[in-house]
């Protein structure tokens, strides 16, 4: 899987906290069957050993569907699980150091809330940007928000794929039309839906109508 070909259109961020009693791996697999094109695994509370075990199981699924697995924050887990890349926020390792450790073959994504942060991420070697929160979100209540004007400006001025994140759902995804994004990142819009495959399919149709 070459990282230059990455399809960021429907980017799933996992959250084990919003699936209730359902099987996490099944929810993720159904989301992929519905059209998710990237999976980001985010585990902030478990041990390194558990994180690695989860990452390996998710990797077996993403490999089956030939889509990239991105690990939130942890370069050690990315390397050990042979994931395709990492996603880094402002509290994680700086992009430049991550690039030094991961080399050029791994995808490095970076969160950006402003044009300045986006520039910096590009300069340090990020492959894509996660920009937001574009809408209010329950999943991350302390999230810094980013206006749609800033989102557009980043898409225009920074030559990197931009994924809009934060509160994106079926009923607001269309507001992102013509912003220049490469895709949308969703958590609860898919993970919390009792039918994640159908939820992904509906989002995919909206994205198709936006030429994504």
């Amino acid at each position: 899987m070459e990282k230059v070909q990455t399809d960021y259109s429907l980017y799933l961020c996992t959250d084990q906290g919003c699936i209730g009693e359902r099987n996490f791996y099944q929810v993720v697999e159904h989301a992929i069957q519905g059209g998710c094109s990237v999976v980001q695994l985010r585990e902030k509370k478990c041990s390194t050993r558990e994180f690695l075990q989860t990452a390996k199981r998710i990797k077996a699924i993403t490999k089956k569907y030939n889509i990239p697995l991105i690990i939130n924050d942890r370069i050690d887990i990315c390397l050990a699980a042979d994931a395709e890349g990492v996603h880094l926020g402002l509290q994680d390792m700086p992009v430049a150091e991550a690039r030094r450790l991961l080399g050029d073959k791994k995808i490095i994504g970076c969160s950006a809330h402003s044009l300045t942060e986006a520039c910096q991420a590009k300069k340090e070697g990020a492959d894509y940007l996660g920009v937001g929160a574009v809408f209010a979100t329950d999943t991350k209540k302390d999230a810094v928000t980013t206006s749609l004007d800033t989102l557009k400006e980043i898409c225009q001025k920074i030559n990197l794929p931009v994924v809009a994140i934060g509160g994106v759902k079926e009923d607001n995804a269309d507001l992102l039309r013509d912003t220049g994004i490469a895709g949308i990142a969703v958590i609860s819009a898919i993970m919390a839906d009792s039918e994640p495959r159908k939820a992904a399919e509906r989002l995919k149709r909206i994205l198709n109508s936006m030429d994504l």
Copy 2:
């Protein structure tokens, strides 16, 4: 610094929780001046970015005194801070995977509570063992204990340096005489002492009397 020459005699495990208002870096530096021969940095609560910043500052100190810095759990931090190695517990990455990621030049230490765990760690490629808790300890109240007989057996049967850990202090260190250990690991016996340099010096004298 060749890992084969590592002096494990007085192994300091850091704990920012037991230094009160004092400067963490100064406490560590004084401990080294008092004779600590290895520093293990353990940070379970902070972000990756903070952990890395702390690791780099500690590395600058350990480098000045030419002693190895070992990072608890996190291989990503070890690589990014160019520490000499990692220490892995049962909730961390398995030793064999860590070895694959770190290569042969980094030190990998592993916690062991029994001969079986010690054998396994050796088989997977550990460079040294942390065995304990040999005494009751307040720093880690849920610690599994290891008897001095088991400690001795591990030292006899496993051809690796063994560091005894868990509640080791001035008034009980002598009980470890003739067990075959390569050193003692201490946290509060040095970190919580208002004069960490002197605390380290006193422990060093006890170790010297034990031919360590």
